[in-house]
Subunit: 209 residues, 2 copies
């Protein structure tokens, strides 16, 4: 079967769960339910890979070292782009190569998504102009300041307005499950959630802890 | 301050969220609440690192490549051991070097924990004998068969009986937050959950999706 290509952008000081949550969801989704279908990629609707500026090891927040599958120069086409967040995004707000790559990948993608402060990069790349969007609760004002045409949603976990943005860190899991639902149906999304023993939260949910 | 050393075992075909969830929680916990405290390690109660058999890149489920901080031969002392799961555990059930390393690390640790089918490795290493324990819902019977003295708990998300085991994949996040609570108090655990926008689930919760 033709798999949708999920490209996850990673960089130094990317927040671990921001990229690992969607990585888990997209890579473990299966069109056939159960344990056995997870032993191969046969009924996997997605092929997931990571992209960094260079094809060299990056160091995520906390020190986790990850080897990307591709660099900007060698990247594979992307159907679904995931831009995670983390403190590393602040540096990237002035990194024209990264912003250009995001803009170019977004133009070729069927769906563009962000987790947490990944939305800041989408905003800076001009992709959120005139749209509703969200980010980590600690960066809502910063998001608004980057582009005043963005309607910043302050109490939703996932915001769909062409581009799909999600709230902080673990909200990326709900975003990814919602994308699985939109692309493969609710049954596939719910069965994937059950496989990873995750209780989906309503996308309208604000930060309630 | 003296940080507790959290050693996370990783191996080929480890499930991504099994290790990344606890990695996120332990590495982002702070004794001082808020966003600013996350910009440095100053008030971090834990130092988190990964250990693999050799200090060489491992490939997690789905293809994510991670560079461990240590190999068995060079590992740093561990206060809190995390053994995650994934299909890679099946191979390790017959790997005496891995089981020996787990047994040795557990003997020196203040706390031993597992996520998902990591419990199978603890069982095979003899560490769950006579204890209550849990694992991913798909491996409850296998856990019972590995050591008939284990009281397998079938509907709890986290089981504390000296050694702390958790249910599948995302339950590792709740396990890690519970360990933060036990070691640093509920306020620190809840504030860390809020930082990562994760809604903690009751440890008595069974799989309900």
């Amino acid at each position: 079967m033709n798999k949708l290509r999920v490209g996850i952008f990673i960089f130094d000081d990317v927040e671990v769960l921001d990229f690992a949550g969607p990585y888990e969801v997209f890579s473990r989704a299966r069109l056939t339910p159960g344990l056995e279908s997870r032993r191969s990629d046969e009924t996997a609707p997605f092929r997931v890979f990571t992209v960094a500026a260079k094809a060299e090891t990056i160091t995520a927040t906390g020190g986790l070292r990850v080897v990307p599958d591709y660099g900007f120069a060698t990247t594979s086409p992307i159907d679904l782009l995931v831009v995670p967040g983390g403190f590393g995004t602040r540096r990237l707000l002035e990194d024209f190569a990264a912003l250009d790559w995001i803009r170019g990948s977004a133009a070729g993608a069927r769906q563009v998504t962000s987790v947490c402060t990944g939305a800041l990069l989408l905003a800076k790349a001009g992709l959120l102009a005139g749209r509703r969007a969200t980010t980590h609760w600690g960066s809502l004002d910063l998001l608004a300041s980057l582009d005043p045409t963005i309607q910043v949603e302050r109490i939703r976990r996932v915001v769909e307005d062409g581009i799909v943005t999600s709230a902080g860190v673990s909200a990326g899991i709900d975003m990814a499950l919602l994308m699985v639902e939109r692309l493969c149906g609710a049954e596939v999304a719910n069965e994937t959630a059950r496989y990873i023993e995750y209780q989906r939260r309503p996308i309208e949910a604000g930060e309630s802890v």
